[in-house]
């Protein structure tokens, strides 16, 4: 299928759009002018609400509604853009900041205008060295061109954007841990309530939004809420970027109208499976969500449908797993990630991910024991819903669903004291 016109990933069509001149020549900062001219801040919030845009950071919370939670009490407000993208399988925000930073900046100015924030931060994952450089350069350009600073485009609105680099911690993608980190602390999540909208950065009302969420604003303002609703479903309207990885012919980021079918994403956008391999499972929304199986490929990729299928759309990190890959290996590998990234504050996540990883590694290595699977299931029960923040729950998504859908494979490991797939986690190297 030929890609329809792209809105969020225009960098894939327009070379050098990361340069402000190129961006401006392609309708860049037009949406900002239009926002200033056509909307009062409150009206802009209403428009975003009407569009039905939902947060693309993972939870899918309606963006306009989130903005409207800010208390109107005269305190300074902050906009914080979450660019800590570290969820295994997800790589869309990195492309957006590296290749089209002005789109994000324009979106941020519009969002700040709507929420009346005078200062905005981009929390950029520490590993994104180039991303941070691109953002720095683009922000400087935006200042030079009068899009940032005092009285932007004579609108009376002023905004400063600052870039803050993380330093290696997945948990800092969780919004309250992110704010802690931004305040120079260890990245431990905060107790909620109060929510950031009420007491966020420096205790002030704060909006935290994902990079992709904010990048939706320029096209949304230019084309209007109704246009946005022409795509997707009633509850999940609009566009979503899906990051596809695994043994497909064209791994990469794809902008799809929500409710596009998973099969279409894999076969048409990503070019189908490499070497015609069969699909065993798909993790549709980043490493935190349960797996879907080969018979669920017709699931429409919108928040409700994926949920109904037993998983979540999450951050849109779609990892395709082929039939020759060992699911115990997949589960063990993902769990190791959560063990490394658990902040360590709460007991079940800290100790549970540690223990469970050990047991899974053991099973994968052929040293599983009878009762191990029950033990893992019970551990999952002791972690799930009992942790301080969603990281601990997220650790369970793949493991629990894989054990459910591929019980035979897990049991075989234990019975045969070996991996029935021949201990194959990887299918080959890149040069095939």
């Amino acid at each position: 299928m030929s890609q329809a016109r792209r809105y969020l990933l225009r960098n894939q069509d327009i070379p050098d759009i990361d340069r402000i001149e190129v961006y401006e020549a392609n309708q860049g900062y037009q949406a900002l002018r239009q926002a200033f001219n056509q909307y009062e801040p409150a009206a802009l919030v209403e428009m975003v609400k009407a569009s039905g845009l939902r947060g693309r950071g993972g939870a899918g919370f309606p963006t306009g509604v989130k903005w409207s939670f800010l208390p109107d009490d005269g305190r300074p407000r902050y906009l914080v853009v979450n660019s800590d993208e570290a969820e295994p399988g997800t790589f869309k925000d990195r492309e957006l900041i590296e290749h089209n930073p002005h789109q994000l900046i324009e979106g941020m100015i519009i969002s700040s205008y709507a929420t009346r924030a005078r200062e905005a931060y981009i929390y950029c994952r520490g590993e994104f060295r180039r991303g941070a450089e691109q953002l720095r350069r683009a922000v400087a350009e935006a200042y030079r061109h009068g899009y940032l600073g005092e009285n932007i485009l004579d609108s009376g609105f002023s905004l400063d954007i600052k870039i803050y680099r993380g330093a290696g911690a997945y948990i800092c993608g969780e919004e309250s841990a992110l704010l802690e980190s931004l305040e120079g602390e260890r990245g431990n999540p905060r107790l909620k309530p109060p929510f950031p909208a009420v007491a966020g950065l420096y205790g002030m009302p704060t909006v935290v939004n994902n990079v992709e969420t904010i990048c939706n604003l320029p096209p949304l303002v230019l084309n209007g809420a109704e246009w946005y609703r022409t795509m997707g479903t009633e509850k999940s309207p609009g566009l979503k970027i899906m990051s596809v990885s695994g043994p497909v012919n064209r791994p990469g980021n794809y902008e799809i109208p929500l409710a596009t079918r998973l099969r279409v994403l894999i076969d048409e956008y990503a070019g189908g499976m490499r070497d015609q391999r069969g699909i065993k499972a798909v993790i549709p929304g980043g490493s935190s969500v349960p797996v879907l199986t080969a018979d669920q490929l017709d699931t429409p990729l919108d928040y409700e449908s994926v949920l109904a299928a037993g998983s979540m759309l999450g951050s849109g990190g779609c990892i395709v797993i082929d039939e020759r890959t060992c699911m115990v290996g997949v589960a063990a590998r993902l769990l190791k990630f959560y063990r490394e990234e658990s902040c360590g504050k709460c007991t079940p996540c800290r100790e549970g991910t540690y223990w469970m990883t050990d047991v899974l590694n053991r099973i994968e290595a052929g040293e599983g024991k009878p009762g191990d699977l029950e033990l893992i299931a019970d551990m999952a029960d002791n972690i799930g819903g009992k942790v301080f923040c969603p990281l601990g729950d997220a650790a369970l998504g793949v493991v629990v669903s894989a054990m459910k859908h591929f019980a035979d494979e897990f049991e075989a490991h234990i019975k045969e004291h070996a991996c029935p797939m021949g201990a194959r986690l990887y299918y080959d190297t890149v040069n095939h």
């Binding site: 295994p88 600052k162 330093a167 290696g168 120079g184 990245g187 990885s245 043994p247």
Partner: protein, 155 residues
Amino acid sequence: MKPHWETWAEEAKAEFPRANSALLPLLHRIQAEEGYLSPQTLAEVAGLLDLAVPYVESVVSFYSLFYQRPTGRRVIHVCTGLSCALSGSDQLMHRLEAKLGIQQGQTTPDGEYTLLEAECLAACDKAPVAQVNLRYRESVDLEAAEELLKGEVES
């Protein structure tokens, strides 16, 4: 302590409403220059920002990109996330370990290379990936492993 750190500290402080926020930016800048953050450096940073030393130590120890031991001129991060593992990143890591004669987590005796494991680097479409001093190297198959070790690098 280097005299310009004071200037850096002032710059970092000026950027944020609260001095604590200046901590990570200042540490990044100093580490880029020093290669790592020694206990002495951390005490100095604490002094510059008027923070307690244990506070600074505690914060630093939380983040994997702050190095508390000396590192090589090239810090190589090999992504071991799922997508990269599916593309052979473990084999890549083993190859590098053999080539350099060190285990992951270690630095070569000549101070040239530090080999580290990274969690998903958000480049799964280019798996397996690595970073050299946080610059991406994509689709690093076993042959390309050699390339990782060569070429000029910025710190």
